[in-house]
Amino acid sequence: MPLVAALAASHAPNILLEPGAEWEDFMNLHHSMAPRGSGNRPTLNQQKKLRADAEAALGVLRADLDQAKPDVLIVVANDQFVNFFWNNIPTFFVTIADEVNGQFTRHKFRYRNHKELGKTIVRAGMHKGIDFSYGEHIELQHTQTVPLYFLLPEPKIPILPIYVNTWVDPSPSPRRCYQVGELVREVADNSSERIAILATGGLSHFPGSPRIGEIDEAFDHELLAVMRDGKGKSFVDYSGDDLLQAGDTEFLNWMVVIGAVGDAKATYTAYMPDFVATGWGFVSWRF
């Protein structure tokens, strides 16, 4: 059956941190890394408004997800040196575990993992010439838990984490990520289950870079406009460097979902730069 829902959402930690002391703490560490220091520090009221706006946007995505009544949610995200280190960096990794756990500050997460769907995707990939890495254990991190806190607060359905290497060079091309998404769509089409997919990350930000604090809002707005037009396939012509220079390397996660939705138009987009580091973006494709 065709995919029943497709979503994309930023996973910036400060979406889930509490406005006030937790935000200040987070900003202090980040700004200590930025050579130009803290340019724009959002006031407490601005922090609260950002949280409220993000919750409203994620509320739309959650309503779309609930309405689609999915049997499983595929979560396409990147690691950031939690599960993978320089001894082995998988370009694409599928989780073949029974369950997956993680913690974000005081919030604990535990989901069943759809192992069989994971194996089906790995096998389909090998048939098509996309050779995924896979493994039986991962620890969930903010790249999954921040959006899941809002989108799937009760673990009523299993998830399936798929990792894309967006965080160390060399990383896959946008075109290759799109092809992975096409493969997921084919698997969904041939499945009797109701499959939903979520990409996380982005939009513009420079984690671990001296450019942290810069947000390329113009580039982000262009991405969202193209998705609303259903022309996301055109992003396959971007180079990795195009995304890197705009701080949008995590858009590679989104490229998988864009490959999965094909020419479908995004039905909802929201965007809010957080002043600290990241242009928060939220998208839903309602089918």
């Binding site: 930690p13 941190l17 937790e22 703490d25 987070f26 202090n28 560490l29 200590s32 890394m33 050579p35 950031q80 040196f81 939690v82 280190f85 320089w86 001894n87 993680g102 913690q103 974000f104 500050t105 620890e139 991190q141 903010h142 965080w167 160390v168 984690p207 671990g208 870079s209 001296p210």
Partner: protein
């Protein structure tokens, strides 16, 4: 030149509580457990992420040296992954 061992120590400062605790007590002893050059040891002791970056460490791992600094030791950043 690879900076694998330097990166590994920084990774462990965030991911391995035993390594972090031991580093607070005796960072020299921890550094001795890794195959580090003199330059790498000096960069670690300086506590300056920029010096670590110049040696080829990924920017995200450079940040982890801040966990040893009193100002950032209890930062919320270390309570999430």
């Amino acid at each position: 030149m690879s900076c694998y061992h330097l990166s590994r120590l920084l990774f462990n400062l965030k991911m391995d509580e035993a390594c972090f605790e031991k580093s607070l007590q005796d960072f020299e002893a921890v550094m001795n457990e890794y195959d580090l050059t003199t330059e790498e040891r000096d960069a670690l002791k300086s506590g300056d992420p920029r010096k670590l970056r110049q040696l080829g460490v990924h920017g995200m791992l450079c940040l982890y040296i801040k966990r040893l600094q009193p100002e950032f030791r209890d930062n919320i950043y270390w309570k999430q992954k």
